[in-house]
Symmetry: C2
Subunit: 205 residues, 2 copies
DNA sequence: CACACAATCCCCTAAAAACAGGATTTTTAG
DNA sequence: CTAAAAATCCTGTTTTTAGGGGATTGTGTG
């Protein structure tokens, strides 16, 4: 039985590229594509692919969010993350949210086919580069922020002072200061500049 | 005579996608691809395409740099910028460096064909979204930084204080402070957080 | 040769952030 | 239920930034 593949990506060129790369592969059935999260979920009401190739960046919501939702509603569908970015944060996040693999957009046809085969066998697949990134950054962890910390972080990035943030969130300035301290500690940053740089690098902003 | 197209991109899927989108177009001759700046320049020693589709992000150097170099050595070749990012800074920069057009990677086949036709007629082409971005941000210019300001900016982003930067650059702390003030003014940022965010958004960091 | 501009330096004040300790009350998850 | 985690608040001090003024020297361009 052929492996049914569905792809969710908002780039025509990528959709065409993958279609083209896979079209002569035996045992692979192309089910089509969606260009956003909403139409992906609509498609899944009617059809059941074996594997979804899922872009990290979608217009209506993050691929990571969508991945989580798909796995809740359709746990049997395997998901392979797809993106241009070889950032550890993305790779980790989508794998933690139930994806079975991760492939960079500069993958070759062989990489793609390997990924699909591995995943269909129930194994996890990480492209070489993705695995390398993970390994390289084994020590430097991505901080886990609480709801409130994320909120404060974004307001800091907006250029607001502790005082302004306190007013906006209806809490005391000292509380904001505490959150700020915790953010600095979690990112191992010694000041705001490093904090914001780290946060953008880890895709928090 | 057919329009000879060459593409420089490090993503197989994009190369395949564009090839697939263009393969049935009349009057377009596919010359092949390069996956980095070096092999692109090597190719150009032997062949002369009419149009190069050039990715902004290449492994060995930025597409913007490569664009400039190509236009110096081969001024007759027209270049169309290509990227996933609809950031004003990229669009502006590559157009300033001699590109004749800019297309986002979520372009349709029609967009691509339009771009190629326009450029072959000697006109400039901006995809709808790119034009929108440019128009939207007409007022908010990208600051022009001096050599020293860039240097100081990077050190601020590293988390260094004015004092540390002064020591590192063998200048007075007050001088660093002056540069810092100018940076804040140029970015219209009221504090370090906004400064760093703006700088990363405009690809200075 | 002017003139703009970059780079350098200075003073002063006020505001904000960083550092160092706490402590209490909710929430959440096992 | 209970222990851990999160969110809240506090009192200090020191360091760093931000904002307001200046000023001098060199460099390159019209």
């Amino acid at each position: 039985m052929a492996t049914r593949i569905f792809i969710v990506d908002d780039h025509y060129m990528i959709i065409e590229g993958i279609k083209s790369l896979l079209q002569n592969e035996k045992g692979i059935e192309w089910m089509g594509h969606a260009m956003n999260a909403a139409s992906c979920m609509a498609f899944l009401q009617m059809h059941t692919p074996d594997i979804i190739l899922l872009d990290i960046n979608l217009p209506d919501k993050s691929g990571i969010e969508l991945c989580k939702e798909i796995k809740v509603s359709f746990p049997k569908i395997n998901i392979i993350g797809l993106s241009s970015f070889n950032q550890q944060s993305y790779i980790n996040k989508i794998m933690e949210n139930g994806a079975s693999g991760y492939v960079l957009k500069n993958a070759t046809r062989e990489d793609l086919v390997d990924a699909i085969e591995y995943v269909m066998e129930g194994k996890k697949y990480l492209s070489e580069e993705a695995a390398f990134i993970i390994k390289k950054n084994e020590g430097s962890k991505i901080p886990i922020l609480t709801r409130r910390e994320k909120e404060v972080l974004l307001l800091i990035a907006e250029g607001m002072t502790n005082n302004e943030i306190a007013t906006k969130l209806f809490i005391s300035t000292t509380t904001v200061d505490t959150h700020r301290k915790n953010l600095l500690a979690k990112f191992e940053a010694k000041n705001t500049a490093t904090l914001i740089r780290m946060a953008t690098q880890h895709a928090f902003i």
